[in-house]
Every structure is written in C-alpha cells, then in structure tokens.
C-alpha cells in the first residue's frame, strides 16, 4: 500500500536529500539517480510495494550491466524492483509512461524539436508510395521488428494524419490510421504470395504497432503545444470491488491468497486437540540430550491446522450482479484450497455448483456455465430467500456440523417475499459459524426491502464492498475462536 498522499512530499524530499548527501561512487550521475528515485516513487504511487533496499539493489545492479542498452536497463530494473507478475505488469506500464515523459520533458527544456514534424508542410506526402508503405508495415509487424515498426509508425502518421485534421483524441486518430493501413488479422487473398498479409498479421504485432502510433502522436502533440499533458494515474486505488469480470482480478487474487495463507497458518492450533497429540520420537530424543539421554520432556507432533469445511452460498440475481461476479471469482479461487468445500448459487432456487468449479478452470467459462446450467431463476428472476433457505436446509442439513462454516453472500433484499428467517436460523444453529457478507454499504441496510437485521441476529454480518473490507472479513474468519460454548 502506498503511503497516504498527504505525507508523501515530505518523505520524498527527505529520501532525496539522503541520497544526494552521500558521495556517489558508482558511475551513475546524480541526474539518473534522481530520475530513478522518482521512478520508484511513481511505482509506489501505483501500488507496488517498493522498499528502499530494492532501490539500492537497482543502483548496485546497474553498474554491472551495459545499461545503455534499453532492454538490459529495463530488465535490470524489473528484476530488482518488481517482485510478482502483477507488479511486473504495472512496472512495464509505468516504465513506458515515465521514461517517455522524462524524455519529452528533457527535449522541451533543452529546446530540441524536429524540423518539419507537426508544422504541416506535408513534405513527403506526395512522395510516399502508400501501397509500398502498407506492405512494409505489414512485413515489420509480421517479423516483430521493433525498430522498423517505430520508424514506419512515424511515416504512417506523416502519410495519413495531416496536421490540423487530427480529431484531438489520440485513440480515434490511431484507429483511423490503422484502418487506412488495412492492418487485419484475417488472411487477405488479393496480395502476392510472399506478402505477410496473405496469411494475416499477428494480433500481438498490430497491438504493438498501435502503441507506437499512439506514442508518436502523443510526442508530436507535446511538441506542438510545448507542454506535457497531465500525468494520468494507471488506476484508482481503494476503489470499490470490481464490477466487471476482468477489472482488477489481480487484486482479488491477492486478497484470496492471503485468505488461504491465513487459514493455513493461523489460529487453528488453539482448538484444543492436545489429547490426540502424538509423541514425536525424534524431537523427544533430541530434547532428552539436555537431560543426559533421559527423556524427561515429551515433545509432541505439531497439531496440523484443521481446514474448516466451507459452505459458500452466493446470490447471483440482478440486484447484485456486479458483486456476484466478484463473489464467484473469490469462490473460484478458494475452491482449490479446501478439499471439502461446497458452493451454491441462488436466485429463486438454490443450485449446487461445486462440480462446475471442479470441471472448469476458466473464470469466464464458469460464469457462463452457471448462467446456463444452474437454472436458479425459476419464474420471475427475483431473489426468494425463504424458498432458498428451505431448499438449502433440505440439501445440506445432514452435512452441517459444529466445525462447518457457512458464508452467505447476498444483499438480503427479499423483494417483498417472506424472509424465512426461522429456516435460516436452523442452518445457522447447525453450522459452527455463519457469516453474512453484504455487498451494500451499511448505510443502505434495512432500507427498502433489505431485511439484513432479521438474519443478522443469527449470524455475523459484514459489509463487503471494498477489498479492504474483504481483508477484514478474512481476519475475522481466520481468527482463533476466543470463546465457544
């Protein structure tokens, strides 16, 4: 987590002062050092947990490589600064943005401009053979030739984007140029056999070319206006839970892995199975050496944490669609870590989806399979809690026992139907612990048709609409039980 924004300037300043006050022994000059520290700050701002020791590692690593080579420089920074696949993805984005802006800023301050570009003389326009250009670009993309693509991107802009005609929105311009260039992934029949376009172009290459186009357009814009546009953050931190399936699955995964880890290592050993402990001969003998070979202190095998049995019951009705997508991804990630876990989805009726998760690995496939096969929306498509509890009780009452944990995910909006609280109470009474996660802010609870209080008397209810709240819930779930009747 990055430091709170209000404290950052002072910390940044002190860090910088500390770095500059010591003599620089390595070949890096203060200018690059300062830039790298700034780069580190920017990574922190995007949520990469970056320590001073990592920056120092980067500094000690750079003199070892020929870092004036772009890829070496980048990889060296990446290996010392970004320590997980997610961080690496952020690193790549920030790297691109940061050094692009730094270069442009330097060009602006030193007054280096490119003669001709952006000034609208249209010099090469008539001379550029458009068809040849198309073929060259296609070839460069097919061969993934970075340098050639970069050069050709500039040519393409010169050929197709007359200054003054630009829409002002970079994305629109990029797409317009791409269309004019006729870059497509599907095979094109009307070109010669040896032309790479006859087999279609790789999607990855086209995407890269678009990136270069965008970068080049942005560069020209900066040169035209002689100012840097405001920096855009990559994403907002501390926002609500993801609503789209692809939005920020990484942060969900982080929370889930923590959930797994805590379940595995924490708290469970306080459950009092001492009676069943086995004597660990090896450790007992080792301990006996302190008493001259007489085993006075017995050592026991550690009691392995008992994995709680989970029953996860998840609302997938429209009122909580966005949240349920998130819930499902959590369930999906959890499914691998418990041997005994059953998952259910419900709207009007309840349906077990445990085997869907066993069969399908892909998140998208799971959501589709649930929508298709579960058959939970019977007639109206509105949640019917009373009926759901009844069906659920029938299905799982024989398997509930005091060590089972039931987690319900839903907004407790009954659509005016009977809440069936007495049935829910029966479920909660049979299970050891029952939790309710509500994707609505507490402010809206019990407002309108929400009957969360009716259920809350039988279970512990938590609001859960940010990742921080989910983490809190994780803590509660895995905390050692203080008192149990």
């Amino acid at each position: 987590m990055p430091p709170p924004p209000d404290k950052r300037p002072s910390r940044e300043a002190s860090r910088r002062a500390a770095l500059f006050s010591e003599p620089l022994e390595n070949p890096l000059d203060a200018g690059l050092t300062a830039h790298l520290v700034e780069f580190g700050e920017e990574l922190r701002g995007e949520g990469v947990a970056l320590g001073t020791s990592e920056l120092l590692d980067a500094f000690s690593a750079l003199p070892e490589v020929a870092w004036n080579e772009p890829t070496l420089f980048r990889e060296t920074l990446a290996t010392t600064l970004a320590k997980s696949p997610e961080d690496r993805a952020i690193f790549d984005l920030v790297f691109e943005r940061f050094f692009f802006r730094a270069t442009e800023l330097a060009a602006l301050t030193t007054g280096i401009g490119e003669a001709g570009s952006g000034s609208g003389d249209g010099q090469g326009n008539s001379e550029i053979d458009v068809e040849a250009l198309r073929e060259q670009i296609a070839r460069a993309i097919a061969e993934q030739h970075e340098g050639a693509m970069r050069d050709l991107a500039r040519l393409a802009i010169a050929a197709f984007a007359q200054p003054g005609e630009g829409s002002g929105v970079l994305g629109v311009d990029v797409q317009r140029i791409r269309r004019s260039l006729e870059l497509r992934t599907d095979p094109q029949a009307d070109v010669p056999q040896d032309d790479p376009r006859s087999e279609g172009l790789p999607r990855e290459g086209i995407r890269r070319f678009e990136q270069l186009l965008r970068q080049e357009l942005e560069r020209q814009q900066i040169e035209r206006t002689s100012s840097l546009p405001a920096a855009r953050p990559l994403h907002e931190l501390d926002r609500a839970l993801p609503s789209g399936p692809l939005q920020d699955l990484a942060s969900v995964h982080r929370v889930v892995t923590q959930l797994k880890r805590r379940l595995k290592t924490q708290g469970q050993e306080h459950r009092g199975h001492r009676r069943h402990a086995h004597v660990d001969m090896r450790r007992t003998m080792r301990a006996s050496l302190q008493t001259g070979g007489v085993p006075i202190t017995l050592r026991y095998r550690p009691v392995r944490p008992r994995r709680p049995e989970l029953f996860v019951i998840c609302d997938v009705s429209t009122s909580v669609t966005s949240a349920s997508v998130f819930f499902l991804s959590v369930m999906h990630a959890l499914h691998d870590s418990f041997r005994k876990m059953r998952s259910f989805v419900f709207i009007e009726r309840v349906s077990e989806v445990t085997d869907v998760f066993e069969r399908e690995r892909d998140f998208k496939a799971v959501s589709e399979a649930i929508a298709r096969d579960a058959g939970v929306a019977d007639i109206s498509g509105y949640t019917d809690y009373g009926r759901v509890w009844g069906e659920l009780l029938e299905q799982i009452q024989d398997e509930l026992h005091p060590r089972a944990t039931v987690i319900v995910l839903g907004d407790a909006r009954t659509n005016g139907r009977a809440p069936g609280a007495e049935l829910f109470a029966q479920i909660a009474a049979r299970a050891g612990r029952t939790y309710w996660l509500n994707p609505e802010p507490r402010l809206y609870w019990n407002y309108g048709d929400s009957v969360i209080d009716t259920y809350a008397q039988y279970c512990e209810a938590y609001e859960c609409w940010t990742t921080a709240q989910l983490e809190n819930f994780v803590k509660v779930l895995t905390a050692p039980e203080a008192t149990r009747p």
């Binding site: 490589v65 060296t76 050496l289």
Partner: protein, 300 residues
C-alpha cells in the same frame, strides 16, 4: 573451475553449452545474481524449467548443486542441521566413569556430532556451491522467516556452537509455483525472475537442441500443437520437458507427420489428466486433419 562471467552473454552461452536455452531476461538475472551475490526468486508455471535452470547454472559454473526440496512441515532439523543424538548417546555411555561432566559436554556438542542438512552443507562448503531451494511456496511462513538470516547474511546461528558463516558465497535459487504469496521480507532480499512458457520460436529451438534428429517440419508442427494445447486452459498444461519427451517419442516411432492418428496415440505424453484428455481430443485432434494452414492460423 571456470571463471565467473563478465557479461550476461557469457552466462547465456555457458547455459546453452550445457543444454539450457535461456531467454535474455533469464541470462541477465543469473548474471546479476552471480555478480551481486543475491539470491534469485524464480517463479512461473510448472514445467518451464525453473529447477533445470539451477542445475544448468551449477553445471556451467562448475559448482556442486545442493538441493533442498521443500514440503509442508519441513523444519530446521531437516533443512539446517541436527545433532546426531545416537552418536551422542553412545559417546556418553562409552565415556569412562571418572571423566568430568564439562569435558563430556564440550565433547558431544562438537562438529563431530553435527548432522549437516542441505542449508548447512551449502554454507559450510569450502568451494562455492549452487543452492537450490525448490518449491519454497510449499513450506509455511515460519520456515520462510528462518531462511531470512541465511539469505541476507549467509550465516547460520547454532545455539551450542555459535555462528557459522559462509566461507564462500553460494549462488542461491528459490523456486516457487506461486501457490501462495511469499512474504515481502523474503522477496525483498531476492532478485525476481518470472519464467513463462517460451515463445514458439524459442521452444522450437529448445526442442531442436534436445531432439536434433527430428525432422524440422515435424518439430515446428509439434511446438505449434503444444502451444495450441497450452491455450486450452487445462488442469495441467504441457511443460517444456513434456514437449521434449514427445519429440523423442515421435522420433522413436519414426513418425513422418503429426496427424490425428499419431496425435491420439501419443497425446498421453503431453496431457496427463482424464478431463484434459477429453478436452484436447475434442478441440485439437479435429483441427489436425485440416492441414498445415489450419494449424498455423490457429496457433498464431
């Protein structure tokens, strides 16, 4: 013993000599680790050659490989050191009656009675070694915490003996399948390397390095099929080792082309789950008959 490399390219060519084809990032990180004396944390899906990287590095550097395979419940006694208590007991019993207590005590907590476990071996070795701590994510957090002392200072504290410091700098590799997130403290001390499945061209080179007799055309087709299978989101996607095995199997069978029949017969080499086999047979087996173009279009 070969000299330490001065440039990333030397690491790269050294690895190629022992049959490991690294990509640029891998060679660079290995080079930096050797230069800076920092451990490498290698992550990536199963079967992309994380363990092999350690073995090959040991081979090319001419060092001994000390391997610690991690598992749930691994503790200090099995990873670091243990007192050889049987020997200690015998010693106490064999001791003459009149020997003083102090001498016996000094005696039985000497190095003669210490059983070295992998981490200790790596630290105490007179020659530099390559230490591979495999699948660190399988252990619990307590063990990770114990590793911290070793990884940052290359030393081990034994209460009865004192501190044992490394006389030579071991090259440490930790591998993880990312089945649980490692602590920040551990990550902070390591260089990070993410190895993914290789690109088509890269894997083709690897296959050709290990099965050079296989026809070029079949090799290419083989890696294309493997890439296609990996795209299917299986329980266990085929690893690089399995593509090599498959190439060798095809060589033994004298296959001239990968068609549906050959594929169905030999599929079990690369796909090892019942449900996976059904999916692959359904999605890939059919495409194979549509000819060369179908494959390359689908794989690209």
């Amino acid at each position: 013993m070969p000299n330490l490399p001065d440039r990333p390219e030397e690491v790269s060519s050294g690895l190629i000599d022992v049959g490991y084809l690294p990509d640029d990032a891998t060679a660079l990180v290995a080079f930096l680790a050797i230069k800076l004396g920092k451990p490498i944390l290698v992550e990536g899906p199963a079967g992309v050659g994380k363990t092999q990287l350690a073995k090959s590095l040991a081979e090319t550097l001419g060092r001994e490989l000390v391997r610690l395979q991690c598992y749930e419940g691994l503790d200090e006694a099995k990873a670091l050191y243990e007192w050889n208590y049987r020997k200690q007991l015998l010693r106490i019993q064999a001791e003459a009656q009149d020997t003083g207590w102090t001498e016996v005590q000094d005696d039985i907590f000497g190095e003669d009675f210490l059983l070295e476990r992998p981490l200790m071996t790596a630290i105490a070795s007179p020659d530099p070694v390559v230490l591979l701590i495999d699948e660190i994510d399988k252990t619990d957090q307590e063990f990770e915490a114990m590793l911290l002392e070793l990884l940052s200072d290359f030393q081990i504290s034994i209460p009865e003996l004192g501190r044992i410091e490394a006389s030579t700098m071991p090259l440490v590799l930790l591998t993880s399948n990312n089945s649980r997130e490692l602590t920040e403290a551990l990550k902070r001390r390591c260089l990070y390397l993410w190895i993914d499945y290789p690109s088509l061209e890269h894997e083709l080179e690897i296959v050709r390095l290990h099965a050079p007799e296989l026809d070029e055309k079949i090799s290419r087709r083989l890696v294309e099929v493997v890439a296609m299978v990996r795209d299917l989101d299986l329980k266990k996607p085929p690893s690089i080792a399995e593509s090599i095995d498959w190439a060798r199997a095809l060589l033994l069978l004298g296959a001239t082309d990968i068609d549906t029949k050959t594929f169905n017969e030999t599929m079990s080499i690369i796909v090892k789950h019942r449900t996976d086999i059904d999916i692959v047979a359904e999605r890939v087996g059919v495409k194979l008959d549509s000819g060369e173009d179908g494959i390359s279009a689908a794989a690209s």
